[in-house]
Structures are given as C-alpha cells and as structure tokens.
Amino acid sequence: MIDQVKQKINDLLSNGSVKGVVALVHSNGNVAPCLYQKGDDLDKLCLGDTDSAGDARYPLNKVLVTLSRQYPDEVFGVLVRGCDERGLYGLYRLNQLDPERVVPIGIACPQSLALQCECKKPWPDNMMAGKASEGIDQKGVANAECDSQPERFSYWAGQFLKCVKCYGCRDICPMCFCRECSLECEDLVSKGDLPVEIPVFHLVRAMHMADRCIDCGLCDEACPADIPLRLLYKKTALIMNAEFGFTSGINKYEKSPLSLMGPAPEK
C-alpha cells in the first residue's frame, strides 16, 4: 500500500499539480507530520504504522488548515483515512478549506484499526490504496444509557473531575479551528481553577462538536485523564441525527442544520 501512496505523491509533486503533500514521516524513531515538496526524499514516508497498522495517528487536516491559511492560493495534497475524509468534508462545509485546493490521497484502514477505533466507516469514499474493512457497530452510547440517572451522574461527574484542563482535546481536534475559543473566554471559564466547572466546561465543547465531530477519536487518545470524550460527542452526534437527519462528514456538500435559519429540513 505504501508504495502506491509514494507513487501517487511522486506523481502529484512532479507534475506540479500540488505545491506539497501533508503526510507522515518516520523521524528519530517517532512518527511526525511532514510536508513533502518537490524533490523531497519519500523513503521515510510513513502511514502511521508503528507496532500495528495506523496506530500512530495525527490530525493532518489541522496542519493542512494552518498551511492553507498561510498559502491560500496553493494546492496541497493530504493523506486521509476514512475519518480524515469526513473531516475534509466538514472543513469544506465550514469554509475552512477550499475543495478546489485540496487533493486527498485516501487510504483504507485495516480491520484491526477499524475495530480498535470502533469506526463505522473505516475507508474514504475516494480510496487510492488499501481495501475497505467492515464498519463496526457503535454500542457505546446505548450502553452508557442503560445506567440509571444517579449512576450516570456519578459516572460523568467522576470523569469530569479528572480533567486537568490541558485543552489537549481541543488542540488535537481537527475540527476545532476557531481563532477565539469559548473555553478560553474568561467570562465563561475562570482561569486557573480546578476542577473545571461541572458539567459546563465539557458540555460547551460537546455542543460545539454537535455538527462537527467526525468521530476520529483523537480526543480520547490525547486525553491524559482518560475522559471518554468521544462517547460524549457521539451522543451529541446522535441527537443531531435524530432531530435533523444530519451526520457530520457523511455527505460532501451537505449544510449543517445549525447554520440554516428557518424550519427544520425534511429528514
């Protein structure tokens, strides 16, 4: 698979259709994001496979957003998995990226990774290499809803109490791109206080994720306190789907119901 990707990147760079390609590199024993440009050595290109396939993930779309803000007229390629492609659709919709200036290089995730991520669509629509694995059933939210109301409260209060307010969830999130963040607004969140205000701090982020979260799970991976953030955002996404028939990142040009005024769109 990696040879196909290398070939594709080489083609794109040498025929000048892109200025650079955002992908991953093996460097000093680690996997890191890297911008490949014409003439760069592709030998150390990496798909994020270290101990197992795709276990080193990185929000490449976030790098791409930063790049395209700096170089709005250039075209960039980007390595995408299923979740990243959903992210691209979201970022197009939210006017953070121009689909005319992005060339996605889609790779499918192996079954092991799909299972580990509990991913419902571990392949991109536009697949360049790999073979689509089966989507995994999502059971987390239904399981969490089985508990009684006091049980749910003590579970989530316990989780939120662990928060060290490192903002890791926001910083890693490929769909968090606001220049001003509500969670840094001192009128809403007091600086330097721990524990964070329960449940406001985490629910503010959950609400902002409602029409954005693409269920990539990077927040869960990044959280040093192991707060099941993704489960929380999965619930907001389910509410969006139940109320408006909308799921972030599934259709390329679908507008979010939260950005429309007027009666609810037909389901």
Partner: protein, 53 residues
C-alpha cells in the same frame, strides 16, 4: 445531553416569551420554581459532586 450525563433535564428550560407577555412569563417562572422545589437542591453543587463521584 444533560440527561445523558445524569442531570435531571427538568432543571433547564428554554422558553420564548415576548416582552408584552408578562403574565405568561410569571406563570412560566412560578411553574419552573415549583418543579425545581420538587427536584430539590442541585446535584451540581461542588461538595455534592465530590461526594458522589
């Protein structure tokens, strides 16, 4: 979302009341207060959160 996190959803209410509809506003608030009294003190008080978590 509040319900998902185990907080009684009756504790949050959003109603649209025009400034010309004072009686509706009063009725709404009285009703809300009644509901809240029945629910009792909020589980979100700091000491309470630390006790159950």
């Amino acid at each position: 979302m509040l319900d998902f996190c185990g907080i009684e959803k009756e504790r949050l209410r959003a109603r649209w009341v025009s400034s010309a509809e004072a009686p509706e506003f009063v009725e709404e608030i009285n009703d809300f207060v009644k509901v809240l009294k029945k629910l009792g003190p909020s589980p979100l008080r700091k000491e309470q959160v630390e006790a159950v978590a």
